[in-house]
Symmetry: C2
Subunit: 267 residues, 2 copies
């Protein structure tokens, strides 16, 4: 779990078998709905509910379609049993305009509360068209998101902002990159979310940053992954830089172990 008092927001990651994860999330939503009164909630991060957003991410042995199914299952249960309006987003979206979470959360809790009963565009996928003190929830299915930060040998935020603008999707850059230029403890940083590492891999983002940084006479001092990432993202980077041809995940020893649990014999 990561919490941030400025954002007044906690991020909880749960990994497990599908039905166990759904149950754990549901119980978490019950607790959040009891503890958080949205009429008295303030925070720097956009939000519309006590359990603001719940993305399902396939890790191993499940497909994106499975995750879409789990999003529907949880949404229906939250709507019926808890009376919380639920909006499905990204891969689970039922309408194209709801794929983007920012659209779903437009106006935040206060704005949605005013509109939900009267504007048919804002009718929830599950649950009542009315907000209680627990607000509403967005439930989605999406690829794993990688939080990737790159540091430059500079104490000037200007180039970091310009490079962030160059690499991010919203201003003409790579499709699955969100980026900001910041100063972190006095060092220029490009702070990013990679929202689909299979289509926009880490190495391509980093090498593009190197090229843009060189234009300012700057270089990358180091980078960091915040939180978790799939093994495949690291393997993909190794394959690229090592120029490995015809590499298969089956060539990784540990993957052989995972396929079939080793049999322990009694002798």
């Amino acid at each position: 779990m990561q919490s941030d008092p400025d954002h007044n927001r906690s991020v909880v990651t749960i990994i497990g078998m599908p039905q166990a994860v759904v149950e754990a999330v549901f119980q978490g939503v019950v607790a959040a709905a009891e503890l958080i009164d949205m009429d008295h909630h303030r925070g720097g991060h956009p939000r519309m509910g006590a359990a603001d957003v719940i993305p399902f991410v396939p890790v191993r042995g499940v497909t994106m379609d499975d995750c879409v199914g789990l999003a529907h299952q949880l949404g229906q249960r939250m709507g019926t049993e808890l009376g919380i309006p639920v909006y499905l987003y990204e891969e689970a979206a039922t309408r194209p305009d709801r794929r983007n979470l920012a659209n779903v959360r437009r106006g935040e809790y206060e704005g949605l509360k005013d509109e939900v009963a009267t504007n048919p565009e804002r009718a929830p996928d599950y649950g009542p068209a009315a907000l209680g003190t627990a607000g509403a929830s967005a439930i989605g299915a999406r690829p794993p998101l990688i939080a990737f930060n790159v540091y430059l040998n500079s104490d000037d935020v200007g180039p970091a902002k310009a490079i962030a603008q160059a690499v991010r999707h919203s201003s003409g850059g790579l499709r699955y990159v969100k980026a900001l230029g910041l100063l972190v403890e006095g060092q220029a940083q490009i702070s990013m979310n990679l929202t689909d590492f299979r289509h926009t891999p880490i190495h391509r983002v980093l090498e593009l940053i190197r090229i843009e940084a060189a234009r300012y006479g700057l270089a990358v001092t180091h980078s960091e992954i915040v939180g978790l990432l799939p093994a495949e993202a690291m393997t993909d980077a190794a394959r690229f830089y090592l120029q490995l041809a015809d590499f298969s995940p089956d060539q990784i020893l540990e993957n052989r172990l995972s396929e079939e649990p080793p049999v322990r014999q009694s002798s």
Copy 2:
């Protein structure tokens, strides 16, 4: 399993729980001893027995010391139950001159058969000081070996041989690299065994090859891993090229799954 008629030799890889692996290897040795008569065996690869060499390699949840213990356990059993002389090598060696497998196998089956009874230097660690038709076996413990080949944009074997000489341990190169320069389907290749990827990582070998190749105006077209390698070797390469600071294997999603098997609930 990989077999090669020129070498007249098969390589079998077994992955599993320690005692299950020892049992499987023992049964394999029984079969090899029955089927292969070393008095009538010819082949391009140096060999001294029907089950010529058996390295134990730690993969997950076992230490090198554990593997040394397994080498002793198997050696004792092969000596006692099968009457096969066993020599412990590499991390399992009982004498410094037996760490190197080439020393253990000096003279091959025919040479060892002549010397084993009379030369105390060649007394086995387990089993009789006499060779039957199954010959002798070397049993060792060692880190996983990575077979790594690098191809150059050249049909001339000369630079490949010179680069192999530059990077391999035996002629002044990196400590845990064995290398040969070859032509493979007309393309120059540096064919390598990396015998300890933790101390001589893949990326360092590749980047040294790039530098040496540039001296001939050549470049790397691609590389390949033959067989298996540990996930850590790929992650290490990604960390190096991505300049990742403070990266922990705990940040890989799948490693969280492996630590504790997910609990399946009955609902």
